[in-house]
């Protein structure tokens, strides 16, 4: 009703930019606010990384190169029109599943956990592709019919999520499995599945928790136990959480100052430049620094959700919304882990943690968001 002009979209083959006046928003298909937010976040991340790496400029340089690659991917993805992505969705998903199986088979042959596919020139981590392919596939599949989806479509969509999640969990990579599962769940949630169903699933999940416990590997169980009581093993598995809490708590409101964090610089804090970089930030920049970081994340996420709500079709809305919310999952699971709210799950702090693979995937997601936003067709007045 609020869209009186949605009578019949013109079947114009060429798409025209929504805001022809802005170069970034226009021909380059970039979203200036989102891009600004991302650049600020990455810049902040590099400053923290310099300290967390023990003032290792070489490490910062390597991260800078990765960021350049990631931003290039963002730029490339932004140029791909959503319609194109939509057509690719099932193929990408199919290819992703096949590669996950290939990784698992290769892993079984190689007798050990494996997450990569060695393609000769470079190693490729199919689970990263699947992080995007799953929401794409679900968004495509659910947008094919009217929403909210019926039971049949819902079951198939659920299956499309569960299969890759199980394949990744088997690798085993609990963190990525969690992210992929959440991406699927977000698509379903945004697609409007009934609250009754959500409640029912929550109850079912609670009931299945013992089974999940049974399926977990010993080290995963240990992580949960350690989370519940880190002091039970202060030098073993609990060490990470205890040292991380000490780093954060000793930072106080204003922090110890950049490069002055003792917990990270004296190597008490493990994984200080990767999964636990948040603790370094908290130690050196204090609560103030954390609030700045969280504000940046919040801005990016809200901008993403805004883009999703403004998307012109259901596919763009579902995909954009899911990709944005996955970033929030990254942020919350990582910070929750580092602050002791959640068990230790190997999920990096997005765009800040040192490391390349997830960085590229996240940036690809933002590229898609920008594409969704900038490829909107001009509606006739």
């Amino acid at each position: 009703m609020k869209f009186p002009s949605a009578s019949s979209p013109p079947a114009a083959p060429e798409s025209t930019p929504a805001r022809p006046q802005g170069l970034l928003a226009g021909r380059l298909h970039l979203d200036p606010p989102l891009l600004t937010g991302l650049i600020l976040l990455c810049g902040f991340g590099l400053i923290v990384l310099y300290s967390a790496s023990g003032e290792d400029l070489a490490q910062v340089e390597r991260q800078l190169i990765r960021l350049a690659i990631a931003f290039s991917v963002l730029f490339v993805m932004a140029q791909v029109p959503p319609a194109q992505l939509r057509r690719w969705s099932p193929w990408l998903f199919g290819a992703g599943i096949l590669m996950l199986i290939a990784v698992l088979v290769a892993g079984q042959i190689g007798k050990g956990a494996q997450r990569w596919l060695d393609l000769g020139l470079f190693r490729f981590q199919p689970s990263e592709l699947i992080k995007i392919a799953v929401p794409m596939m679900l968004a495509w599949f659910l947008s094919e019919a009217r929403l909210p989806p019926d039971w049949r479509r819902l079951s198939i969509a659920a299956g499309m999520t569960i299969v890759p999640v199980l394949l990744i969990a088997k690798q085993p990579d609990l963190g990525t499995a969690l992210l992929v599962a959440s991406a699927g769940i977000f698509v379903l949630f945004l697609a409007g599945i009934s609250w009754w169903l959500i409640g029912g699933l929550a109850v079912l999940l609670g009931a299945l928790a013992p089974l999940l416990w049974y399926l977990m590997r010993p080290y995963q169980r240990q992580r949960v136990l350690t989370f519940l009581n880190p002091e039970s093993d202060p030098l073993g598995a609990g060490y990470h959480i205890i040292q991380s809490k000490i780093a954060i708590g000793s930072g106080g409101v204003y922090g110890k100052g950049w490069l002055n964090g003792t917990q990270s610089h004296l190597e008490f804090l493990p994984e200080s430049s990767t999964d636990f970089i948040f603790a370094v930030l908290a130690e050196e920049f204090g609560l103030v620094g954390i609030l700045v970081l969280l504000a940046l994340y919040l801005f990016i996420i809200l901008r993403g959700l805004y883009i999703a709500t403004r998307a012109q079709d259901t596919y763009g809305r579902l995909l954009g919304g899911a990709l944005t919310l996955v970033v929030f999952v990254y942020v919350f699971v990582n910070t929750g882990m580092v602050t002791g709210l959640l068990p230790v799950v190997g999920i990096p702090l997005p765009l800040v943690s040192y490391g390349g693979t997830s960085l590229v995937t996240i940036m690809a997601g933002f590229g898609i968001l920008m594409s969704i936003h900038t490829h909107r067709k001009l509606l006739p007045p």
């Binding site: 009217r146 000793s250 003792t262 004296l266 609030l291 709500t309 929030f328 602050t339 002791g340």
Partner: protein, 613 residues
């Protein structure tokens, strides 16, 4: 279908918007939880975590103090701290340990024991700690390694201060030695003050004056990383070095006394009667105390422990010998002072003594007897019968009580630990120890310094010094003064002479005169050590090592060497204003006048003729 699709589009858009709002709310709720948790950590518990963070990185490292030095009375150094060089390896910096050890072995001797100790310590220490592979390198070895150093990254020469006793064996029983702190000591000492100290005084002066010599530990606050590596020093409190000790002991006199023993075993003590200062203290044989400092090898230790000569046994402090005839001046004085006998009164010595109504003959060493002897004659000729009779007249109670005045039967209180008190028998003692009554015959034997009566050489010297000063009893002391390196000398500890009760000074003079005649008289038992340079008062003694039990056969073959009597000798000089009192015991030396007296003379000569007071 396009119609429904268009309617769906609007509916779906609204549905999505509602869901997006719900997720936004959830996001805000979760972020609030996160921020609350952060506020809890960073504001509420900030101080707690600041403390933990500080405890993580700040460690206290003890700075051990330098041990005080020990000098003799003339400033000759007796115990010092020498830098010794040890070869140490930091495993972290060595790529190929096997090869490094093999290559090292080619330029410096590394024994199996060294390797074993190295590997043991390597397991206990951290990778960046340096671990000694060889200790006490010679100058040549240091030089040889120095030119090859570039070939051995991670291997270094470390200099440490190690206790050293330059006079070695001679001083071993006085000074004692330091050794690594063991478990029992760890429980006894103030561990915070000994943090960083590896050695502690085990015996002798080193043990008694441990607290003075050790000093106070210093502390360094350092910042460490998670691996324990030192990053920087935050704060430093330097240690207070231990104080130096200046002994009464004269190193030259000690050497002379040691030399005088030749290859005989025994003990000699010289005391300055005026101060109680111990001038020489020899227990032969000695041992090399330096062996104990770096940890004695089990073979060396076994050899010392199992040696028949008992080199580790401190005969001066712990050797308990029957005083034999050296007890006679004291017994004689007991007779005079108690009024049991007058100095001039003579007794007849037929060569034996019989208790009234007893058949048993207590024999004199001189079979034919000494004839009619006065107190002086009895001391000069060491007449046993006179003292049998006198002891009988005195009775055990008076005798014990009087001898007790001279600290017989209890430690003299010398400032070295481990001193034994000998044995001064009493009726009470015998009832308690043997569940027997005192027999009168035992009093006779005690009167000539035999039987149950046991004294240490130190007790004999102490008693002799007390006799020389007419009963001014000063506890023997080894340490003259304590000096800290920065401050001037501490005032000497005040001597605490105890004046014994004197009934008549003449009694003392008579006994001393008798002792002079032991040396100067024509029939004196020590006339061979007579000198015209200064006057000596002395008494010889012979102590039975071991009484053959009544149901045993005396077997000359097996016990001859070890069964010979101990030779004893006490003396002081000069007779007027005495400056030295000496007691000498020569184990299995035979007669005191022959074996022990020359040693005492050598000691007194060195002191009287070289050393100006």
């Amino acid at each position: 279908m396009p119609e429904s699709s268009i309617k769906d589009h609007a509916r779906e858009s609204r549905l999505f918007f509602r869901r997006a709002v719900v997720t936004t709310v959830i996001i805000f709720v979760l972020l609030t939880v996160l921020v609350l948790q952060l506020a809890y950590l960073q504001i509420t518990s900030h101080e707690h975590f600041t403390t933990l963070s500080r405890e993580n990185r700040v460690k206290l490292v003890p700075l051990p103090p330098t041990r005080g030095l020990i000098y003799d009375r003339n400033g000759v150094i007796l115990a010092q701290n020498l830098p010794t060089h040890s070869l140490e390896i930091t495993p972290e910096r060595v790529d190929d340990m096997e090869r490094t050890l093999a290559d090292l072995g080619r330029i410096i001797d590394i024994s199996e024991d060294d390797l074993k100790r190295f590997h043991r310590q390597r397991k206990q220490k951290r990778r960046f700690d340096s671990i000694p592979i060889r200790v006490s390198l010679s100058e040549e070895e240091v030089a040889r390694f120095a030119v090859n150093r570039h070939r051995f990254p991670g291997v270094d020469i470390q200099a440490r201060l190690l206790r050293n006793y330059p006079l070695g064996e001679q001083m071993a029983h006085v000074l004692g030695y330091v050794g690594r702190i063991n478990q029992q000591e760890l429980e006894r000492i103030d561990t915070s003050n000994y943090a960083g100290t590896s050695h502690i005084g085990k015996t002798g002066v080193e043990k008694t004056y441990e607290k003075t010599l050790h000093g106070k530990v210093g502390m360094q606050q350092i910042e460490v990383n998670a691996l324990g590596r030192i990053i920087r020093v935050l704060e430093s409190h330097p240690p207070t070095p231990g104080k130096d000790l200046h002994l009464f002991l004269d190193a030259g006199l000690q050497a002379a006394a040691t030399r005088a023993f030749g290859d005989k075993n025994g003990a000699a003590v010289a005391i300055d009667p005026r101060t109680g200062g111990v001038l020489a203290m020899v227990s032969k044989p000695g041992f090399n105390p330096n062996l104990f400092v770096e940890g004695i090898s089990s073979a060396d230790y076994k050899r010392l422990r199992s040696s028949e000569d008992k080199p580790l046994f401190n005969r001066v402090l712990r050797g308990q010998y029957p005083p034999g005839s050296t007890a006679k001046p004291f017994v004689g004085l007991a007779g005079l002072e108690t009024g049991v006998i007058a100095s001039g009164k003579k007794k007849f010595c037929p060569g034996y003594y019989q208790l009234p109504k007893h058949e048993h003959k207590y024999r004199d060493w001189k079979k034919q007897g000494h004839g009619l002897v006065s107190m002086q004659d009895a001391i000069v000729q060491s007449c046993d019968v006179y003292f049998y009779s006198l002891s009988h007249d005195l009775g055990i109670d008076k005798l014990s009580k009087f001898l007790g005045l001279f600290d017989f039967g209890r430690p003299t209180g010398v400032d070295i630990t481990g001193e034994l008190g000998g044995l001064l028998p009493t009726r009470e003692w015998k009832r308690r120890a043997r569940q027997q009554a005192w027999f009168p015959g035992e009093t006779l034997i005690m009167g000539i310094g035999q039987g149950y009566f046991l004294t240490t050489p130190l007790q004999l010297a102490h008693a002799t010094a007390s006799l020389a000063t007419h009963g001014a009893l000063v506890p023997p002391r080894v340490v003259q003064r304590i000096q800290s390196s920065q401050q001037q000398a501490d005032p000497p500890p005040p001597p605490l002479p105890v004046q014994l009760p004197i009934v008549d000074t003449k009694n003392w003079d008579d006994i001393i005169e008798a002792m002079v005649q032991v040396v100067e008289g024509p029939r004196g038992t020590a006339r061979r050590i007579y000198t015209d340079k200064y006057r000596i008062a002395a008494k010889t003694g012979t102590a039975q090592v071991f009484t053959v039990k009544q149901d045993e056969e005396y077997d000359e073959e097996t016990v001859s060497a070890k069964m010979r009597d101990h030779a004893l000798f006490i003396a002081f000089a000069p007779v007027r204003e005495p400056r030295i009192a000496v007691a000498v015991v020569v184990e299995h030396g035979g007669h005191g006048g022959a074996a022990a007296a020359p040693i005492a003379r050598a000691i007194m000569d060195h002191y009287m003729l070289n050393d100006k007071p």
